[in-house]
């Protein structure tokens, strides 16, 4: 009955937006990947950082700053937020997850101060925005420029990250996250590299916030609420679906990062789908949390129950 009332065309119409949103949020998922997977640090700062990146971008653009430049500032401000979480943890000995919550909460006030109220809009007609919702309903050339640009941007970011995590410094970060005793024994300043990784991660999240604010034409103090869950969902969906494909490759790390971005796109496609099924948007956060919980538990359950049959042979 309900199914009949659904319009397949409406779903189709929702896809371009879902893909665009997924690509933009893919950048924040890359940041989450750095802390969650490489550093093994559950960083909740990102919920605050995302809104800070958005708030800064919107206020700067309103003040006449070039939208591209505003993104650089969003990135820098994100790094600053990451640094604070890192210093609370490494310098003052506050447990990692708590440090990140403290920063996240303070950012809420800071974001309100940046914007002067709980949200601020920018008019796409008034400014030459880097990305905008408007572009996906524009003419073919605009659409092509938009999707091509965002995809290319994501690929360039993946390449930069791939190179960075292959440098001495990037490897030191990975060693710190993988085995702290080993890293220290090899003379790696684990505190420094923990802070550095948090800065890079939150820089990316700030950048995503700036882009997303331009995309939807507004920044809101609550725009980052639950962002960590979306980031985790992207990371995990990417790993579960494309993990096998990635491991055997020569540049496994680059493929993993691409799969994280694809994970974000898929996440938004799924969201578009359930919205189309008339799920109330109020229930979206609950739904996202359940999806993440399921995907997080798959590797664990696979290990626990899946391999038994194989082991017995």
């Amino acid at each position: 009955m309900i199914l009949l009332s659904l319009n397949p065309l409406a779903l189709l119409r929702a896809m371009p937006g879902a893909c665009a949103q997924g690509l933009i949020w893919g950048i924040m998922a890359l940041g989450v990947y750095i802390t969650f997977r490489l550093l093994d640090f559950p960083d909740l700062t990102v919920d605050g950082t995302l809104a800070t990146g958005g708030a800064v971008a919107v206020m700067l653009i309103r003040a006449g700053v070039n939208p591209w430049v505003s993104l650089i500032v969003s990135f820098a401000v994100g790094m600053l937020a990451g640094m604070i979480t890192g210093l609370l943890h490494t310098g003052l000995g506050i447990p990692g997850i708590l440090s990140s919550i403290l920063t996240q909460i303070s950012l809420y006030s800071i974001n309100l101060n940046i914007m002067g109220k709980s949200n601020q809009a920018i008019n796409v007609d008034q400014y030459k925005l880097v990305v905008s919702l408007r572009y996906i309903s524009g003419d073919a050339l605009t659409k092509f420029k938009f999707y091509g640009g965002v995809t290319l941007g994501c690929l360039i970011l993946v390449m930069i990250m791939y190179c960075y995590f292959g440098t001495e410094q990037g490897q030191a970060i990975r060693a710190t996250g993988c085995n702290m005793s080993m890293a220290k024994a090899q003379g790696i300043n684990t505190n420094f590299h923990t802070v550095l990784a948090l800065m890079i991660s939150n820089g990316l999240v700030g950048l995503c916030g700036g882009l997303y604010a331009q995309y939807q034409g507004a920044a809101d103090v609550n725009m980052g609420r639950g962002a960590i869950v979306i980031g985790l969902a992207a990371v995990i969906i990417g790993e579960v679906l494309f993990g096998k494909f990635c491991v055997r490759r020569k540049s496994a790390f680059a493929f993993t990062m691409i799969s994280v971005i694809l994970g974000a796109v898929l996440y938004y496609i799924v969201i578009a789908f359930v919205l189309w099924l008339k799920m109330p948007s109020d229930d979206m956060k609950l739904f996202s949390a359940i999806v993440v919980a399921i995907f997080l538990s798959i590797p664990y359950l696979k290990n626990k129950y899946g391999k038994k049959g194989v082991a017995r042979q």
């Binding site: 990975r174 060693a175 890293a183 220290k184 090899q186 684990t190 590299h193």
Partner: protein, 272 residues
């Protein structure tokens, strides 16, 4: 620091360390530890459970600060240096094969990390072409078939293979002092013998100064040029040279019995 006095490869002066002071778990693990190692000394360390052997090695490595005393490596007083800054003087292999390597990173990446011990981590490429060739050559000498697996994740290796790689890593950047804490204890006897032989070879070829904790008294006698026995956070027996070579396990046992009042029966010292 060099005020004309003789410098040693390592000098421990009156080291004290108490864990959980002021609580019911208070434990004095090092109680006035003094030790001087000459360049090229290879010391084996034995002692019962809880004697303070690991604590002594951790104190040297700077895992936590000591309560009192000083630690001098060559002509550098490292007592107040954090662990990562002392690393440039030290090569370390741990009891647990998992501890010495980064499991999610490849063999070559692990080795490259070790080759840069004590150096600043820059934005230069992490593993260069020349390095790969060098590592391949070094892995070949291990004869474990690892030379073709430079890009394999270390997590896929066996415990013995991991310890062998960790030993190589410790010697890539010649350390002033090599610390081996029961590094063969988690291995099966055959693999343990192999890794032990490799340790001897690496120490000899690189003329390293080394400290090796072991529970096997026979190994303690055969290897190295000096042997110390620890008990309750102090050194209670220290022999070297010819005198050490002529030791028998029974000598060590009676020495041990003397200080511990015959409790060794429930100790996990290996008597064979």
């Amino acid at each position: 620091m060099s005020n004309g006095a003789k410098t040693y490869a390592l000098e421990l002066r009156d080291i004290h360390k108490t864990f959980n002071p002021g609580t019911i778990n208070e434990k004095t693990a090092l109680d006035g530890l003094n030790l001087q190692l000459e360049d090229g000394d290879f010391v084996t360390i034995i002692g019962g459970n809880g004697a303070g052997k690991s604590t002594a090695l951790n104190a040297i490595a700077g895992v936590w600060p000591v309560d009192r005393g000083s630690i001098i490596i060559g002509d550098t007083d490292v007592t107040s240096l954090p662990e990562h800054k002392r690393a440039k003087f030290l090569g370390r292999v741990f009891q647990d094969p998992m501890t010495g390597t980064a499991a999610t990173m490849s063999i070559e990446e692990n080795m490259a990390l070790a080759a840069r011990r004590g150096k600043r981590r820059t934005l230069k490429w992490g593993v260069t072409k020349e390095e790969k060739e060098r590592y391949m050559g070094m892995l070949k000498t291990l004869d474990l078939g690892l030379e073709d697996r430079l890009t394999s994740k270390v997590g896929l290796l066996s415990g013995g293979q991991r310890q062998a790689v960790t030993l190589l890593m410790a010697s890539l950047q010649k350390p002033n002092l090599l610390l081996l804490d029961e590094h063969t204890a988690a291995l099966d006897p055959k693999t343990a013998a192999k890794v032990l032989a490799l340790s001897d070879k690496i120490i000899e070829e690189n003329h390293l100064t080394a400290m090796m904790v072991t529970h096997n008294m026979k190994d303690a006698i055969i290897h190295g040029n000096r042997l110390i026995m620890m008990h309750e956070g102090r050194i209670i027996y220290d022999v070297r040279g010819e005198e050490k070579k002529s030791l028998h396990v029974s000598d060590l046992l009676s020495k041990f019995e003397e200080v511990s009042g015959g409790e060794f029966a429930n100790d996990r010292m290996i008597l064979s």
